[in-house]
């Protein structure tokens, strides 16, 4: 397979309620990504679109609706979908469009407009449970997160306060992000005092719902060498799905994230991720998920992530900066777009273009990961320079 580089990135502001339609958001991000590498729509051979459940935008077949905003007019176009895992998977998909040799320039666009769904996008999940064993109980998404967080805490003796520190870190990091929706200086006590939703999950453990879009430009090696002296290479991709039956999963540990990470690390020739990964953007729609995913990404032992956090290792100035962007907790959670801004953050960081968010020490390699679907998918990408 051919080498593939990321050469451009763009994103909109993330916000609770955008005036722009979904396709206008997609266009803003896509146009910014193309402008950033001085390409035009004419240079684009194909487009991949990542967008999560139709029900969020309340538009059936929304990738088709979004297509013109994504730059797909009269081009090969496909939608990738792995629920919350979509954003990073869209980057994986763009990689294989180019790596396969079929296309030289692939524009990857992600979008979510969650403010259309009222009273809350949670309603979109009413039909995603088993119709007979789960739905009649009034099953809520929050229950699943609470079950995982509780089990993670219980298995390792981790406290709610240990976990709340993730929310504090990421919202603070987001203060330096120009597109952030919920950047703030808060304390662990603030998180602990916030409203209980489904114990142990409290309001400030959770990322906000958002409207937003993000885009990346993937090109073949020869195109990359022609148009930039700062290509960021896709070194590995991976994805993996676990069982749909929640009772059959290890809720305290995301095994499927580990499998996805191993696939990507093998491709990248990474033997010791703890030494070879310099910066990580794991998916953090909930604070405990950042810790969960650090472990699944093999960046520390099981149950060890809270200690790295407490020791400052995962701060922007630490040895392994984690979510220097501010993550979903700080920048916002526009599902598919949030996965992709994690890849975009690696792109900016590895090129030294992350501005006030720039981690010191010239990082050479990073991993981004998303999670979701029915809480059983891991999607991973490794970028390097």
């Amino acid at each position: 397979m051919r080498k593939v580089a990321v050469v451009g990135a763009g994103m909109t502001k993330f916000m609770r309620r955008a005036q722009e339609t979904g396709k206008e958001l997609a266009w803003q991000a896509a146009r910014m990504a193309l402008d950033s590498c001085e390409l035009t729509l004419k240079d684009v051979d194909c487009v991949v679109m990542g967008t999560a459940p139709d029900a969020f935008d309340m538009i059936h077949m929304k990738a088709e609706y979004l297509s013109d905003g994504a730059g797909a007019w009269r081009k090969p176009y496909v939608r990738g979908f792995l629920g919350g895992g979509t954003g990073v998977f869209t980057a994986d998909q763009a990689w294989y469009h180019v790596a396969s040799g079929l296309f030289d320039v692939c524009l990857a666009v992600t979008e979510e407009k969650m403010s259309s769904c009222l009273p809350h996008p949670q309603g979109a999940f009413v039909t995603c449970w088993d119709q007979y064993t789960e739905s009649p109980l009034g099953t809520s998404l929050l229950w699943f997160f609470a079950w995982e967080m509780n089990r993670y805490m219980t298995m390792h003796g981790i406290t709610e306060r240990d976990i709340a520190a993730v929310s504090v870190k990421n919202k603070k990091n987001a203060l330096d992000h120009p597109c952030a929706q919920l950047a703030a200086e808060i304390t662990v006590d603030d998180v602990m005092k916030s409203e209980i939703m489904a114990w142990p999950v409290k309001r400030l453990d959770v990322s906000p719902t958002s409207d937003g879009a993000a885009a990346l430009v993937f090109v073949s090696e020869d195109v990359a060498k022609r148009i930039t002296d700062k290509p960021v290479w896709v070194e590995g991709v991976g994805w993996c799905l676990d069982t749909m039956y929640i009772g059959q999963r290890d809720l305290y540990y995301p095994k499927y994230v580990e499998y996805a990470a191993r696939m990507a690390y093998d491709m990248a020739g990474i033997k010791e991720p703890r030494k070879e990964i310099h910066i990580a953007e794991p998916y953090d729609p909930f604070d405990y998920k950042e810790l969960h995913h650090m472990e699944g990404l093999l960046l520390c032992d099981k149950g060890e992530a809270p200690r790295l956090l407490a020791d400052g290792v995962t701060q922007r100035t630490g040895n392994l900066p984690v979510c220097p962007s501010g993550g979903l907790l700080g920048v916002g959670n526009a599902i598919a777009a949030s996965g992709m801004i994690k890849v975009a953050e690696l792109f900016w960081q590895l090129r030294g273009e992350a501005g006030k968010r720039q981690v010191p020490g010239k990082p050479q390699r990073g991993v981004a990961q998303a999670w979701g679907d029915e809480m059983q998918v891991g999607t991973v990408i490794v970028l390097g320079v």
Binding site: D130, N150, T154, W199, V201, G247, L251
Partner: protein
């Protein structure tokens, strides 16, 4: 009701009005059997994959690991343990509940999988992971073939 074949297109008529969209799912082959046993006999059933040596609950007609057809049904104990739980304070629309509900994932000895259900006859602060619980059924006359035929699980 069957109608006579229409042979003149002019005889076809448009229908006017609102079309409320709703879904009517089927239980499926495994679900039909599982819920019928629960309703009629008050029994929890699982199904075994002899290839993988796993007993699946909820039961199904195929093994997701080896793709075998599964036909070996067996009753599973009505006692299990709390694998994990939450105390939910809001409903699906985000409204505060007057009384929070405790919902758990209950696992059964020797069974691969488990059931999601409410816990009853216990205070939230008394629930812990690993706690033994027992299924409490509605009376036979009130059972309709639903997961809600199980009223809740209570501490043993």
């Amino acid at each position: 009701m069957p109608v006579d074949k229409v042979t003149q297109v002019a005889q076809t008529k448009p229908l006017h009005g609102e079309i409320p969209v709703y879904a009517q799912y089927t239980f499926g082959i495994a679900g039909e059997k599982f819920f019928r046993e629960l309703k009629d006999n008050g029994r929890l059933m699982g199904v075994k994959c002899p290839e993988c040596n796993l007993i699946y609950v909820p039961p199904r007609i195929y093994c997701e690991r080896c793709f075998s057809e599964l036909t070996e049904w067996l009753e599973i104990p009505n006692r299990g343990v709390v694998h994990t739980f939450t105390v939910s304070h809001i409903d699906l629309d985000g409204n505060r509940l007057k009384e929070p509900v405790i919902v758990a994932l209950v696992k059964f000895d020797g069974v691969y999988g488990g059931l999601v259900h409410r816990l009853g006859r216990v205070e939230a602060d008394k629930v812990s992971i690993g706690m033994p619980v027992e299924m409490v059924l509605k009376s036979k006359t009130k059972r309709v073939g639903s997961i809600l035929d199980i009223d809740y699980f209570k501490p043993v």
